[in-house]
């Protein structure tokens, strides 16, 4: 292992890691937003909108992110829609993640016992209050494990950004292999940096999951 090489290119990886994390986080934030909206639409069975959401979920879950990105980044400009690579990355991640997050929230919402909602209503809470104070908090705590699993999944998916020329960790490794032929060192740094990003999320996930088990009611 050539440590000099590693030291020299550490900053490049750090920059790439920042890009991965920043675009990943923005994409995931949008995915959560889309997921919440979609889950609400499905839960309340909003007419028309629910069909659109269903169609979107099917489309997004049954196509690979890479195909979505290629279409978005290389195909769309042909019909006059030119997005830069960063925007494409965020959009692709949000499009893909939205449906996964929606599924997580929806199953959380559905898992909340109907009795909870009925009791809250009979206590004189408005529908909005019931949602905000009773159903949502419970639903979210139920869906946390799936939610964290999705975040890890999406962070891992960011590795395909290299295909649309974003200088993420994957591209940096590939580029250094191509430039200086230091395969082992480049791959070593690649693994380390992905672990640095994803391990903490995974650890926090398992800690939170353990705590949340006590938050369940009656089980």
């Amino acid at each position: 292992m050539n440590w000099e090489f590693i030291e020299k290119y550490l900053p490049m990886y750090r920059e790439a890691a920042v890009l991965t994390v920043v675009i990943g986080s923005i994409g995931i934030a949008f995915a959560i937003l889309i997921g919440l909206i979609c889950a609400m639409v499905l839960y309340h069975k909003v007419p028309v909108a629910k069909h659109i959401v269903n169609g979107y979920v099917e489309l997004s879950r049954n196509t690979p992110l890479l195909a979505q990105l290629f279409f978005l980044y290389y195909g769309f400009p042909k019909i006059g829609i030119n997005l830069n690579a960063e925007l494409c990355g965020v959009a692709g991640l949000a499009f893909l993640g939205g449906s996964y997050m929606s599924e997580a929230f929806r199953s959380g919402l559905e898992a909340v016992d109907k009795i909870q909602e009925e009791s809250a209503l009979s206590l004189g809470m408005t529908k909005y209050q019931v949602m905000k104070y009773v159903v949502l908090p419970e639903a979210i705590s139920i869906s946390i494990p799936a939610f964290i699993a999705n975040i890890i999944f999406l962070l891992k998916e960011t590795s395909v950004f290299s295909a649309i020329s974003l200088m993420d960790l994957m591209f940096t490794a590939k580029d250094l292999i191509g430039l200086y032929y230091k395969t082992t060192e480049s791959l070593f740094l690649l693994v380390i940096f992905y672990l640095l990003i994803i391990l903490p999320v995974s650890v926090i996930g398992s800690l939170v999951e353990r705590r949340l088990r006590y938050a369940g009611f009656g089980n």
């Binding site: 049954n62 196509t63 195909a67 279409f71 019909i79 395909v160 490794a173 395969t183 791959l187 672990l195």
Partner: protein, 224 residues
Amino acid sequence: MPDLGIDVLLKGSNMLRLLQGLWVAMKISLVSIGISIPLGLIVGTLMTTRFKSLKVIFRIYLETIRILPQLVLLFLVYFGSTRALGWNLSGEMASIIVFTLWGTAEMGDLVRSALVSIPKHQYESSEALGFTKGQMYYYIIIPQTIRRLLPLSINLITRMIKTTSLILMIGVVEMLKVAQQIIEANRMTSPNAAFGVFLVVFILYFIVCWPFSTLATHLEKKWR
């Protein structure tokens, strides 16, 4: 109607080549899943046994595979293995290895959680009813496990097919690479091919994955 460049696919054997590219991807995922399911059954069952050390080893294996992006694993196996172990792997072979490692880990975990989720009283009741161990597994435990497992493993197939899109990056000529080649060879005559061809690729992935995921959802609802 602007030129969307879909007509490129009607030239020569372009459409056929695209489908062949899809078949390459399908083949890799089907072979991998074919190996992963039996291996996953074994790993999953072993993970429910009492051997602590075995459990720890499988746990580590599972977490390693899960935490690294599939693309990183592909790179490690494709480029790393030759250097570390002197194996000469083709891109296809490297993909099958990675997908099998990954599939076995996922499948093993599914099997484990399916087995664990069967309540203890099921075992106890069947014993009380005088079933032999074989009968108990054959009539009680395995049918229930399969019901829980089948939809999830079908979903795994969809995930594998989708993930095969990555193997383009280790030099396997699959659907996306063929798409690029077609666009490149026809750059002069149909400059908008990137839209049409990538659209068709997108739709083809959907056509292949959708039946699997619909079947999985259907089974899940039916057997709930």
